[in-house]
């Protein structure tokens, strides 16, 4: 080559290189400059920011784990008064809402003209700018005064500064703020306390202080008021006060199974039960409180035998219960859930309040000072009022925010969906819109504004009186062109007045915090506890009046259908989080789809075809008919249900079946005279369990089966000719224990594991095909005694793992810390390890879930960078959050020491509300996992007979010798 040619080539090549490197797209915010680092940001390092969970109105504190400005995991805020480190399954999954594929990305105006077209193509949503949107709202607000109508503001439960901001906005713009709408508004409970004590509130139930807990209908471990906090308190009371807990319910719930004792009560019998207790406490003068004569006389006059007949309990049993309550030092009675959501639910709530008063619970274990703030929450009565306003065309503009914008949770008989159209101008503030619902939105709304998610926003929550939790952004900027509700309201107010916007909501908020002196607490600790007013209450003089029209008439005949809130979706509001469908229901193990739970007796009398084998996931279909409405649903045969009782989840019911109490506006959870018949069809139902009874299989061995070695961990002192597996381990042997007595089966661990480990959701079809990817699962086993055990099953990290030997390429092997590690990129996918795993905890990537679209769009930002997203054809499984172990080991190595106990928390352990899971180094005799395991009398390892030597111990008290 000539010298000139050479120079030419070099010149062209180097200029091509330079040019091509100029054209790169705008650097993503993943790239963080190391030269000029932002405050406290090291690339790849995890940071925790305090915020508050927004998935429901409880307001649990969370620590948002962020890496490179991406929120990748939520953990309960340690020390937060409500949840102290724990988070429920919905809370864990709520991070997916931030990155939800259905997030509304900018303000939109529905093209109403397109709605009538036969075939709509594309979206009916026309984007508009924020300025135009504000202008549009401001113009329309003016229309109200012109034609003598009013503008209304309807929201879901709102507390803290946002509530103040809404009041401020409504005051300035002349908008009428309606009582808030919540499906579970506890209207009867609040109305009863209002009648008895003049407090329209849900008080704080101090379970942690109780030594005897009696719950009637209240699903305190699932959805009632503050389930995570309650679970924590139950656990505390169990260990500190040897809590005895009896749960009464007419149907079955997870809470019932997890109580010390579960008692069935006949539908509608709860009020009778409570009447008996009220009379007992009054007659026996257990405390110095007694009923005024007027009140005593207004109580329904029912004989003890009638009470027994109506509750299904004997008089002796009732007396025993009353005596137990009377003799307990700190008894606590909680009545709620399905027991207060029925025709005599108001009476049940009234009588419950009375019992609580008479027994001295009020002021002791029931605290009105720190009650949940439901002051702004209305009931269906208020929705009825709204409908009346709409009917008479007295509403001009309507704002609907943070509630169900399509009013699908409202009983269909109220026809809100139709009536809202009478308002001239409707605005919704939403976070997500399901593409399938676009048309429904377009039919109602004239303008839809996208809200920023809590983790993109400034704000605060004061769900419990006096307790303010911070809400702060965790991302560098909002993902889409969204605003917080506060900012939107400030902008609208400015547009109305024509003035400039007075700063941002953040400024307004911080000024407010400064004024109350909360700023430092909120920014440092994440929450602020203000002094609360005196919680002392007295029996109101007018209490007797409340009983005058009380009618505790008993249950009607026929089948009864209970409509219960779902632990996964509540009233359906978490239904758009795919993970909440993917993770199965803890009782039925149904993941996707709707079903109705029926009793075994009913299944027999209807002669179900598929009642026996669960292996084939086809179930009998039943028609559930009530008041002329019929739903065809697959039937799940639920052990423990009494004959004639069926259960359906709240979000799955046809709204036309729902009814409510005219007096209080409480929605009924009980539907009487339901006809259930078999349609003759056999339909698919994605229930994950291949069996829910263990028979003789001893997965959970019989207590007293010689499994416990008190003071020793199971592997110690086993006489065997095989080499001691522990000889292999020098520094660590990671082990885990699950306390069967503490575990509530709630599934929070499952949800946490999904988010921590980048586990994809596979969708209904593949779940039905058995291809769910969960690394940890909660297996319900029903026993003949009417109980249910939840067995948390994850990789057992066996000492002699059957999976390790059979892998032809060493993709899975035993590391020197006892972990059965999985080298994902070495796996060729023979699935031999999966076949040979007796616990079936290995999960194969049948498809490339990234290709299937699970990580599309912003969802990819949720991926934990410390763990691979596994491609198709690769086996995966739990490795005790090895990425967290690695981080802890790195830190320990820097300091020249071993990892200490408590330094590594597995994701499942971290989020567990009852601390049922402990994890740590089994070689450290002082570690929590070792001490708890060695002290447990009835501990066992699953399928120990196989000699696999699991590192997971299940702990329990030895019940029988």
């Amino acid at each position: 080559m000539k010298r000139r040619d050479f120079l030419k080539f070099v010149g062209v090549a180097s200029s091509a290189t330079v040019l091509s490197s100029c054209g790169v797209e705008k650097a993503s915010d993943k790239i963080v400059s190391k030269l000029i680092p932002e405050k406290d940001i090291i690339p790849g390092e995890a940071y925790f920011k305090n915020s508050t969970c927004a998935e429901c109105a409880v307001g649990c504190g969370v620590s948002v784990k962020t890496v490179d400005h991406n929120a990748i995991k939520l953990e309960g805020m340690t020390g937060h008064p409500l949840n102290d480190g724990a988070l429920c399954l919905r809370g864990q999954a709520s991070l997916t809402r931030l990155y939800h594929p259905n997030r509304l990305t900018n303000p939109v105006v529905p093209r109403k003209s397109d709605l009538n077209l036969e075939r709509m193509t594309g979206s009916v949503m026309e984007p508009v700018s924020w300025e135009d949107a504000f202008k549009m709202i401001a113009e329309n607000l003016g229309g109200a005064s012109a034609n003598n109508t009013s503008n209304v503001y309807l929201s879901g439960r709102t507390t803290g500064s946002l509530s103040a901001m809404i009041d401020d906005f409504c005051g300035r713009t002349g908008v009428q703020r309606l009582p808030e709408y919540e499906t579970y508004s506890y209207a009867n409970i609040r109305a009863a306390y209002q009648a008895l004590f003049g407090r329209n509130e849900v008080p704080d139930y101090k379970i942690a202080d109780a030594d005897l807990l009696v719950t009637v209908g209240a699903d305190i471990l699932e959805t009632f008021v503050n389930p995570v906090g309650f679970a924590k308190q139950v656990e505390a009371a169990r260990s500190n006060n040897q809590l005895k807990w009896t749960h009464f319910e007419p149907h079955v719930s997870l809470t019932g199974f997890k109580a010390s004792e579960r008692q069935s009560v006949q539908p509608g019998g709860e009020a009778y039960l409570l009447l008996f207790l009220a009379r007992y406490f009054d007659a026996n003068s257990v405390t110095n409180r007694s009923m005024p004569a007027a009140l005593k006389n207004s109580l329904p006059n029912v004989s003890d035998n009638d009470i027994a007949a109506n509750t299904g309990l004997s008089v002796d049993e009732l007396n025993q219960l009353a005596q137990n309550l009377a003799s307990a030092r700190n008894p606590l009675l909680i009545v709620g859930g399905v027991s207060t959501q029925q025709a005599n639910g108001y009476e049940a709530a009234l009588l419950a309040g009375l019992v609580q008063w008479l027994s001295g619970m009020v002021g002791n274990t029931i605290d009105f000072a720190a009650g949940s703030d439901y002051s702004k929450v209305g009931s269906l009565k208020d929705i009825k009022n709204l409908v009346a306003m709409l009917d008479s065309k007295r509403v001009h503009a309507a704002f609907v925010t943070r509630t169900d914008p399509l009013f699908r949770t409202v009983p269909a008989s109220m026809q809100v969906t139709d009536k809202i159209k009478n308002a001239a101008f409707k605005v919704a503030f939403v976070e997500t819109i399901d593409p399938a619902d676009e048309k429904a939105y377009a039919e109602i709304y004239d303008l839809i504004l996208p809200l920023s998610h809590a983790y993109e926003s400034w704000g605060d929550v004061e769900s419990r009186k006096g307790l303010t939790s911070v809400v702060q952004p965790t991302l560098k900027e909002t993902i889409f062109d969204t605003h917080t509700e506060g900012d939107i309201l400030m902008n609208i107010a400015a547009a109305v007045s024509g003035a400039a916007v007075e700063g941002t909501y953040e400024d307004w908020l911080k000024a407010r915090w400064d004024a109350s002196g909360a700023t430092d607490y909120l920014m440092d600790a994440g929450y602020y506890q203000a002094d609360v007013s005196d919680g002392r209450v007295a029996l109101s003089g007018g209490a007797a009046r409340a009983f005058s029209d009380a009618n505790i008439a008993a249950a009607s005949s026929g089948n009864t259908l209970y409509v219960v809130p779902s632990i996964r979706k509540l009233d359906g509001r978490s239904g758009d989080l795919q993970l909440m469908s993917e993770i199965p229901d803890p009782l039925s193990t149904v993941s996707y789809g709707s079903w109705v739970s029926v009793s075994k007796a009913d299944a027999d009398s209807l002669s179900f075809e598929r009642a026996e084998s669960l292996i084939q996931k086809y179930r009998d279909e039943v028609a559930v008919e009530s008041a002329g409405v019929s739903m065809n649903l697959p039937a799940w045969v639920q052990p423990g249900l009494a004959q004639g009782i069926a259960v359906i989840q709240r979000e799955q019911i046809d709204g036309s079946m729902l009814a409510y109490d005219d007096r209080t506006g409480e929605e009924y959870a009980r539907i009487d005279n339901v006809n259930i018949s078999r349609t003759g069809n056999v339909v698919p139902l994605a229930a994950l369990a291949g069996g829910i009874e263990q028979g003789e299989r001893s997965i959970i061995p019989e207590p007293g089966g010689g499994h416990g070695h008190h003071g020793k961990v199971h592997f110690e002192g086993d006489e065997t000719l095989y080499p001691d597996p522990y000889d292999r381990y020098t520094e660590y042997r990671w082990g885990l224990s699950v306390d069967m007595d503490s575990c509530t089966g709630c599934g929070a661990c499952v949800s946490a594991c999904y988010i921590e480990n980048n586990i994809p959701c596979v969708g209904e079809e593949e779940v039905f095909n058995g291809r769910e990817m969960s690394w940890i699962r909660v297996q319900p086993y029903y026993n003949d005694q009417g109980g249910m055990d939840s067995l948390v099953m994850m990789c057992q990290q066996c000492d002699f793992a059957p999976c390790e030997n059979v892998c032809p390429v060493y993709a899975t092997y035993h590391n020197e810390e006892g972990l059965n590690v999985m080298v994902y990129n070495r796996c060729v996918g023979t699935r031999y390890c999966h076949n040979n795993c007796p616990y079936k905890v290995r999960r194969f990537n049948w498809f490339d879930w990234a290709d299937e679209g699970y990580w599309d769009g912003p969802m990819a930002r949720m991926q934990n960078p410390d763990i691979w997203v596994r491609p198709k054809g690769v086996m995966e499984k739990c490795t005790f959050c090895i990425q967290r172990i690695r981080v802890a080991k790195d830190h320990a190595k820097d300091e020249g020491r071993l990892v200490q106990d408590g330094e590594v928390l597995a994701a499942c352990q971290q989020t567990c509300p009852t601390n049922a899971i402990s994890f740590g180094n089994m070689l450290d005799k002082n570690s929590e996992v070792y001490t708890r395991t060695s002290q447990s009398e009835g501990k066992f390892r699953v399928l120990d007979i196989l000699g696999t030597g699991p590192a997971v111990h299940y702990l329990r008290k030895e019940e029988e010798a």
Partner: protein
């Protein structure tokens, strides 16, 4: 064909003189090589059907590679399904080839001379087919080479404790030895083909493959020694390869797999299915190629007796398996319920197909008249093939569907992709087999000639 052709069956061969022997050999040469002459249209139709099946299989496999193994029906907890069933099925088919040619050769059972060429060809093609399935069932087939111990910079090695690695060696060794054994036996016949074939091209090709065989005394001496040696080498392989395949299961922890009788049980099952497949192939071939004179009913009867014997061994294995599970009973609930489930559960149909085909139907062979009825033998061999496929299906699928933890029990339904690939495997096998019938003497001419010496 001569209407008064003598019965040349070895046992009752009539007295013969040199002329007769010469004529007979000439006649046989002509008859056998007539079979590999120009194909008739029907051949092409058959070949086209076979290739079509291969196409279906190739399409299905492509789908699976592109979208992932989820295209197949296998799922949690049934990680192995139709593919491994097919694998064991084809390895089983491959068995009787070596049995007939090597073991029966060492035992001087002359009737094997009628079948050994076809049986060996069947062995080679069946191993070629079987060898595809470990690849097909891999999650990441593009990394299949990781299963072989090859030197690499990262010092990554295979896990010699894994039965799957044993499988790799067992199957590849078996394929190698079978091919060599088959080819060595072919050489003198290829030399005849070189002599008979007229076209230049054919002469050249057969010439190359006959390795310059001229039929001298010295060549025959070496040939015979080598052949005996290879027969002796191949014999233990018959036992080892299927034993190793059975250990894929027997070494597992799953009840229904984890049992010591698996090695002999699988070997007997393999011979059973292999003999059935030989009958399935040879009965029509004998008819189509007019080889009635050389492959007689007596020969088939001997094969049928072998079928009967191995069928009884297989039945015995079923009984032992079941009896042990029932004997321990509730003492080992997992094994007990597994076998109860096989008989009465969701897959009971598959179990009873297996029993009907493999236990009941071979009992008919106790009747001499049926044993000697080729049409009956042919129609008997097909259900035995099906039954042996279901035997593997039962072992693999049902054991996995209901193992230890009730929560994880699950049902498996094969998908269209799996059936497509299974059809493809038959197409693949028959394509090779059809090509074989038109290129290589389907019965060993030289060995039959030896008989009349």
């Amino acid at each position: 064909m001569s209407s008064h052709a003598p019965n040349v069956n070895a046992e009752n061969a009539p007295e013969r003189d040199q002329t007769y022997a010469y004529n007979y050999k000439e006649q046989m040469e002509q008859d056998v090589f007539a079979a590999i002459s120009k194909p008739k249209p029907m051949f092409f139709v058959a070949l086209l059907i076979s290739l079509g099946c291969v196409g279906i299989g190739a399409y299905s496999w492509t789908q699976q590679i592109v979208y992932g193994l989820g295209e197949a029906g296998i799922t949690n907890p049934v990680g192995w399904g139709v593919y491994i069933t097919d694998f064991v099925f084809w390895v089983g088919i491959a068995h009787s080839g070596t049995l007939i040619s090597a073991i029966l050769f060492l035992f001087r059972a002359q009737f094997r001379n009628r079948f050994n060429r076809t049986a060996e060809a069947m062995t080679v093609f069946a191993v070629l087919t079987a060898g595809l399935f470990p690849l097909i069932h891999l999650g990441r087939v593009w990394f299949a080479y990781w299963l072989f111990p090859y030197p690499n910079q990262r010092l990554l090695w295979v896990n010699f404790k894994s039965p799957l690695v044993w499988d790799v060696f067992a199957v590849s060794t078996y394929l190698t030895v079978s091919v060599v054994f088959w080819y060595i036996g072919l050489v003198p016949d290829l030399a005849i083909a070189r002599r008979i074939k007229e076209s230049k091209l054919q002469k050249t090709i057969y010439g190359i493959f006959s390795l310059g065989w001229t039929g001298t005394f010295k060549e025959w001496q070496h040939y015979n020694q080598l052949y005996k040696f290879l027969a002796a080498l191949a014999t233990p392989l018959v036992l080892s390869v299927h034993s190793v395949v059975s250990w894929d299961f027997a070494m597992g922890v799953v009840y229904g797999w984890h049992t010591t009788i698996f090695a002999p049980y699988f070997v007997a099952g393999a011979i059973f299915s292999g003999c059935a497949m030989v009958i399935t192939l040879m009965v029509p071939m004998r008819k189509i190629f007019s080889l009635e004179k050389y492959i007689t009913v007596d020969d088939f009867e001997k094969l049928a007796k072998l079928l009967m014997l191995t069928g009884l061994i297989v039945s015995y294995a079923y009984i032992i398996e079941l009896a042990l599970a029932m004997y321990v009973g509730h003492g080992n609930i997992y094994e007990y319920e597994q076998f109860m489930y096989r008989m009465t559960g969701d897959y009971a149909w598959a179990y009873w197909i297996m029993i009907g085909c493999n236990v009941i139907s071979p009992l008919a062979l106790f009747i001499r008249g049926l044993r000697r009825n080729l049409l009956f033998l042919f129609f008997l061999s097909i259900p035995i093939n099906i039954g042996m496929w279901f035997e593997r299906f039962n072992i693999i699928v049902i054991s996995l569907a209901k193992d230890f933890d009730p929560y994880s029990f699950g049902y498996y339904t094969p998908s269209m992709i799996e059936w497509g690939i299974t059809i493809g495997s038959f197409g693949w096998f028959f394509t090779f087999f059809l090509l074989f019938t038109k290129t290589i003497p389907v019965i060993p001419v030289t060995e039959l000639k030896e008989e009349v010496e």
